[in-house]
């Protein structure tokens, strides 16, 4: 990737050009042509457009084009100067208040608050009453009105930035505070301040023109748009054009600035754009009935998930050719590092793929308690709703955000029950409280009425588990359910999950997703290891952990400190590691995708993309030419 620091991002080109053109016209045109904005020609009052006066003449016969241009100069200058003053004062106040805290903070923020509690135009009118109208008053008033928004933003942004580790790192280095503020904090808060500057400029134009419209802003004979609208109102019936011209100028100025702000915001903070997460969009309709193997409750067959990267970039396969079977009453672990595609695979099973990611080949099948298997990723929305939570349920990594913070826990549980059965309130409540008790939540009846933030992380995860099991699904997907929890809480949740199978009346198959091979050891019967979107090895848990066949699985085990209790750094011991980092999905190497990190890689690994070779016994499989499962002829043929 090349650094793009000095070029204008594509989305900024149009608004920048528009704004430059607009401002340029206001200031440059009068230099080239000679206009007189104040010359009165009563005989030609309200004359229409002519060569000498392209926009016609106003009620005093003055040239309207000249008045629009000069009025623009006045409006834009007032707005710019006032915004600049507001920016300077506000940013300084906010920065000092937030970085040095203490009394600075109190004074800075309280002063801003007081100003914010006055409706802007009214405060302006109060000041005008005392000082009388005029451009200087106007600039002062606008700066006073708008500096609090800058100090608020500078304050909150500085608060955000100054607790970031890199600012702390500068402090730890002994860098002087003034240098930290100027070189580290300020550049990182400039984005939002720039956005605010543009917004303020637009607001200044609005307020200025409004005041001038009332005759309390820019005073005649100096032209201004607000004033032009005011005087044209008198001749509205004879000369509607006189109103449109300044209105259009005013609108264009504000519109150009707003467009600039919008695009600037998108560029600075891409979060708000369309790529955002989306769990609500309907899935596409269609797909026939998928088949399900004997004894399996859910199955993926040669599933490929593809990310659409827009028109300019080719789509990329995030998950490739993944096959996996969840057997009845068995726990399967799906293990891999971040980016291996393990969570996407699970989401595909649930039909919850993020927008932009689609299954492009292969088959997904989820068994139902009654009826034929379905493919949730392509089922019609209404049909999918009846399966999700009913036949297959899921719990997530972050218990702190997985429950809706504004609804009571009880409500969130009963709505899950009511979605799948006709059950009255009282009964749903009883069932939910029983479910809370069964996952080890003390005082379940009172917790039922609690809000999520009143519970600890461990308790919330228990609530999630209880909620997922309410409708007695056959399959439970647990996506890193303990990663965000402390180790002692993690152990308790693992105990709970392990016991579910026996306590869950009609049997349960769990798909347990984790980055930690250690944690799956005593919960899973079967382990599937993923790397860079592919399954690289699978088999019974004890066999995989005792004797991994794929070099990557082996390396994963070797690099865990907990697997090497005899090693200690003080003795000069090192952990066996895999060199390098996993490839990005669109930059996978040719042949075997783990070859550039593999200690055993041979030249042949670059030419053959290995299949997931299955042992004749049918239990284990590994995606490596040198695994015991791989047919021997493959390597020999290439070697010759």
């Amino acid at each position: 990737m090349k650094s793009k620091r000095f070029s204008i991002p594509g989305r900024m080109v149009l608004p920048t050009v528009l704004l430059t053109l607009f401002v340029g016209t206001m200031f440059i045109a009068p230099l080239i042509f000679t206009f007189d904005a104040t010359k009165i020609a009563v005989s030609e009052r309200l004359a229409g457009p002519s060569w000498a006066h392209p926009l016609g003449q106003d009620g005093f016969g003055r040239d309207r084009l000249a008045r629009v241009l000069y009025g623009g100069q006045v409006s834009l200058t007032v707005a710019f100067v006032a915004s600049l003053i507001a920016l300077a004062i506000g940013t300084f106040v906010g920065l000092i208040g937030a970085y040095f805290r203490g009394p600075f903070e109190f004074i800075a923020m309280r002063v801003s608050d007081v100003v914010l509690y006055f409706p802007p135009i009214l405060l302006a009118l109060l000041v005008v009453t005392i000082f009388g109208p005029g451009v200087t008053t106007l600039v002062a008033v606008l700066a006073l009105l708008f500096f609090p928004s800058f100090s608020r933003i500078a304050y909150s942004e500085t608060m955000r930035v100054s607790v970031l580790d890199f600012v702390e790192a500068s402090r730890a280095l002994g860098t002087a505070p003034s240098r930290i503020v100027a070189r580290t904090v300020l550049p990182n808060i400039m984005g939002p301040i720039l956005v605010q500057f543009s917004l303020t400029a637009a607001a200044c134009i609005t307020v200025e023109s409004g005041l001038s419209f009332l005759g309390l802003g820019v005073v005649p004979p100096a032209p201004s748009w607000g004033q032009m609208i005011r005087s044209a109102r008198t001749y509205m019936e004879q000369d509607p054009f006189g109103i449109f011209v300044p209105c259009a100028a005013l609108f264009l100025a504000i519109y150009a600035i707003n467009l600039f702000v919008d695009r600037l915001r998108d560029v600075l903070d891409p979060k708000g754009q369309l790529e955002g997460k989306d769990a609500v969009s309907a899935t596409k309709d269609g797909a026939g009935t998928p088949e399900l193997g004997e004894g399996n409750v859910a199955e993926l067959r040669a599933l490929t998930l593809t990310l659409d990267r827009g028109a300019d970039l080719p789509p990329v396969d995030l998950v490739k050719d993944v096959s996996m079977a969840l057997r009845a009453n068995q726990n399967t672990a799906l293990v891999g590092e971040s980016g291996s595609g393990k969570s996407l695979t699970a989401l595909a099973l649930m039909g919850l793929l993020p927008s932009g990611i689609q299954p492009t080949s292969g088959q997904i099948a989820v068994g139902r308690k009654a009826g034929t298997p379905v493919d949730l990723a392509s089922l019609a929305p209404h049909a999918a709703e009846q399966v999700r939570g009913n036949d297959i349920a899921m719990i997530f990594q972050e218990p702190m955000t997985s429950l809706n913070p504004v609804l009571r826990i009880g409500f969130q549980m009963t709505e899950a029950l009511q979605a799948h059965s006709d059950i009255d309130r009282a009964e749903a409540r009883e069932k939910s409280i029983a479910a809370l008790q069964s996952v080890g939540i003390p005082e379940a009846a009172s917790r039922f009425d609690a809000y999520p933030h009143e519970l600890s992380g461990g308790m919330r995860q228990r609530v999630m588990i209880a909620m997922a099991l309410l409708a007695e699904p056959k399959v439970l997907i647990a996506d890193e359910p303990t990663t965000a929890l402390d180790v002692t809480i993690q152990a308790e949740i693992m105990d709970l999950l392990r016991d579910l199978r026996s306590s869950h009346g009609s049997g349960l198959s769990m798909l347990f997703i984790s980055h930690n091979l250690g944690i799956v050891a005593d919960i899973a019967d079967w382990v599937v290891v993923m790397y860079s979107g592919e399954v690289v090895e699978e088999g019974p848990t004890d066999q995989i952990l005792r004797d991994p066949h794929h070099p990557y699985t082996r390396a994963l085990l070797e690099s865990m400190p907990s697997a090497h209790e005899d090693l200690h750094s003080a003795k000069g011991d090192r952990l066996d590691t895999i060199k390098g980092t996993p490839p990005l999905p669109h930059l996978r190497p040719s042949g075997c995708s783990s070859r550039d990190r593999c200690p055993m890689a041979q030249p042949v690994c670059a030419t053959i993309h290995p299949d997931l070779y299955r042992a004749t016994s049918g239990t284990r499989a590994a995606r490596c030419l040198f695994a015991p499962e791989a047919p021997e002829h493959l390597i020999q043929k290439e070697a010759v």
Partner: protein, 317 residues
């Protein structure tokens, strides 16, 4: 909850006191004699007699602290003195005109909320689709049109050109309900359009943000219908920020209403205010600003209480 409400009410009260103090003291912050300042214009100084009589009239000869105390006590009794121009009671004038301003704002708010929230939700749930693109483009135009520009254009289009509705004026509802509504329509839409653009924008952004949350995914995973997911887990959460922003926007709205009332000859507070400012009728200006600022603070107090009902976490902060 009660504790939270009392707490917020207390700080709103404090804020009112601060606002009152600022309004009172702003005249004295300026160097020179306040009476002289108010009477002078364009460098021409008023006669000493006039100044002396104004000082007497405004009680400027009393000690500052006494003036301040009197001002606060009187303000609590809705007594803001008499106009310098027509000697009418400022409090009485405000009491007659304030309900008309509130009526206008409420009408605009209802129109804007009824259209902005559904449109914003629809656009936020389907970002980048046709409805969103069109609505967002229209909104970008609306947000760039100051209220008095919309008002001026509306008068031309609907009153002058099409002659569908009156260009302005005010008739009491009890005198002629139909005419009252006709006269209310254009100003209310003008006020509402600006609010609509803010509500639409905020609802869209908020829905867009909320729909990506983990708990929405949980709700879908539970098998809730799309309608319920949107209503309970997206919209319910999205409304809090929308209400907050609308509350803060009320300040700007109260300001732009001044212009809109002026354009449509709607005899609310603003015509009074504008005339007062033009004539530098300080007691009237001070009274109106005090009342409107108090209104603004009260609105924000209500918004905070409403938000805390929507989101239990707020009560803890």
């Amino acid at each position: 909850m009660l504790r939270f409400a009392l707490n917020r009410a207390l700080s709103a009260g404090l804020m009112l006191l601060v606002v009152g103090t600022v309004v009172f003291s702003i005249l004295f912050l300026v160097p020179g004699d306040p009476a002289e300042l108010l009477l002078s214009s364009d460098g021409i100084t008023a006669s000493p007699d006039a100044i002396a009589s104004l000082r007497e009239e405004m009680g400027l000869n009393k000690p500052l602290l006494a003036q301040y105390g009197e001002f606060l006590v009187n303000a609590l009794r809705f007594d803001f003195g008499v106009s310098l121009i027509d000697k009418a009671s400022v409090g009485d004038t405000i009491a007659t005109r304030l309900p008309r301003t509130i009526e206008l704002i409420l009408a605009g708010l209802v129109l804007a909320a009824l259209t902005g929230i559904p449109a914003g939700t629809y656009a936020g749930l389907r970002p980048g689709r046709r409805f969103d693109r069109i609505a967002s483009a229209v909104n970008a135009v609306l947000i760039s049109l100051p209220g008095f520009v919309i008002g001026t254009l509306f008068i031309y289009i609907f009153a002058q050109f099409l002659r569908w509705l009156p260009a302005g004026g005010y008739t009491s509802f009890f005198t002629d309900p139909w005419l009252h509504i006709k006269q209310l329509t254009l100003p209310a839409i003008t006020v509402g359009l600006h609010l609509f653009s803010i509500i639409f924008r905020m609802t869209r952004a908020s829905v867009l943000e909320m729909r990506g949350n983990d708990w929405v995914r949980t709700a879908v995973a539970k098998g809730l219908s799309r309608k319920l997911v949107v209503r309970r887990h997206v919209l319910r959460n999205a409304l809090g920020p929308v209400i907050t922003v609308v509350g803060l926007q009320m300040g700007i709205l109260l300001g732009s209403t001044v212009l809109i009332e002026f354009i449509y000859n709607w005899p609310g507070l603003s015509g009074y205010l504008v005339t007062a400012v033009q004539q530098r009728d300080y007691p009237s200006v001070r009274g109106v600003i005090l009342v409107v600022s108090a209104l603004f603070i009260l609105i924000n107090l209500m918004v905070e209480l409403l938000y805390s009902m929507l989101d239990p976490r707020i009560r803890l902060e």
